[in-house]
């Protein structure tokens, strides 16, 4: 699998193995977003002060709906880009408009956070290299989180030099 810059306006991935192409198609979800652990992480409280209950209520009523809409919009951008997957010799290829990189970063983060919260993956597990063997859904989630991290790293570095 190779990351490359097609032009100032377009980024590309080519020779994507079918397994990784399948994982990329899962970036927009659906992930379990209704579970309490996932929701608490995607929509954290703005204050830990017990005396700030009013702020937390206002936040839930006014800010969280905006964040829901923002996150959905990022996933929709990625979903539309993923429809451009092409099957080529040596794997799959995908072009991404450079202007969509922010949406990709956001959707990848949503996916990684949702997977980590859903499978109760902790810092010690996530700071280790990816699993050597995928034996269950938890291992697959860890692998997926690491793969999505590699995509994020590439996007950040690409944006950083542009």
């Amino acid at each position: 699998m190779e990351f490359y810059r097609i032009s100032d306006n377009r980024l590309g991935l080519r020779e994507i193995p079918p397994l990784l192409a399948g994982l990329m198609r899962q970036i927009p979800g659906p992930f379990e977003q209704d579970g309490r652990a996932v929701e608490e992480r995607l929509f954290p409280k703005p204050s830990q002060d017990p005396g700030e209950e009013g702020l937390r209520e206002d936040w839930k009523a006014h800010v969280e709906p905006e964040l829901h809409a923002f996150f959905l919009s990022a996933r929709q951008v990625v979903e539309a880009d993923l429809r451009g997957f092409k099957e080529e010799e040596g794997g799959f290829a995908l072009d991404i408009p450079a202007g969509h990189a922010e949406s990709w970063l956001n959707a990848l983060n949503q996916a990684r956070i949702s997977l980590a919260a859903q499978h109760h993956l902790h810092e010690a597990e996530l700071s280790q290299p990816g699993p050597m063997a995928i034996l269950d859904e938890r291992d697959l989630a860890k692998f997926q989180i690491h793969f999505y991290a590699a995509l994020q790293q590439w996007l950040v570095e690409t944006l950083d030099v542009s």
């Binding site: 954290p44 703005p46 204050s47 830990q48 983060n109 980590a116 993956l121 810092e123 994020q152």
Partner: protein, 96 residues
């Protein structure tokens, strides 16, 4: 000249507390990448790379970093922006 004694619980203390700025605090989490957190700090606060990396490392090693202090309304806006990038951020009264 008469000595001025501090009266415990006087209003001076309360007024000082009201004038205290609010901090925007970013907390460590196991998922966000270090390069991503640095990028978000630069984008949201306009930090230099060095300053953004310094705050990112403080979050990573100490579990939290105060990234901005000032008026409450602006602090809330910054927290909202940080949440939109999926960073764990809260506001707290300075000195709390």
């Amino acid at each position: 000249m008469a000595e001025v004694k501090e009266v415990p619980g006087s209003s001076t203390r309360d007024e000082t507390a009201l004038d205290q700025p609010w901090n925007v605090v970013v907390h460590n989490d196991p998922v966000n990448l270090m390069v991503y957190v640095t990028m978000v700090f630069r984008k949201v606060f306009g930090f230099s790379r060095e300053k953004a990396e310094s705050h990112m490392l403080e979050v990573h090693h100490k579990g939290r970093s105060i990234v901005w202090s000032g008026a409450r309304e602006r602090a809330e806006l910054y927290v909202q922006q940080l949440h939109s990038h999926l960073l764990l951020a809260t506001i707290e009264r300075s000195g709390s």
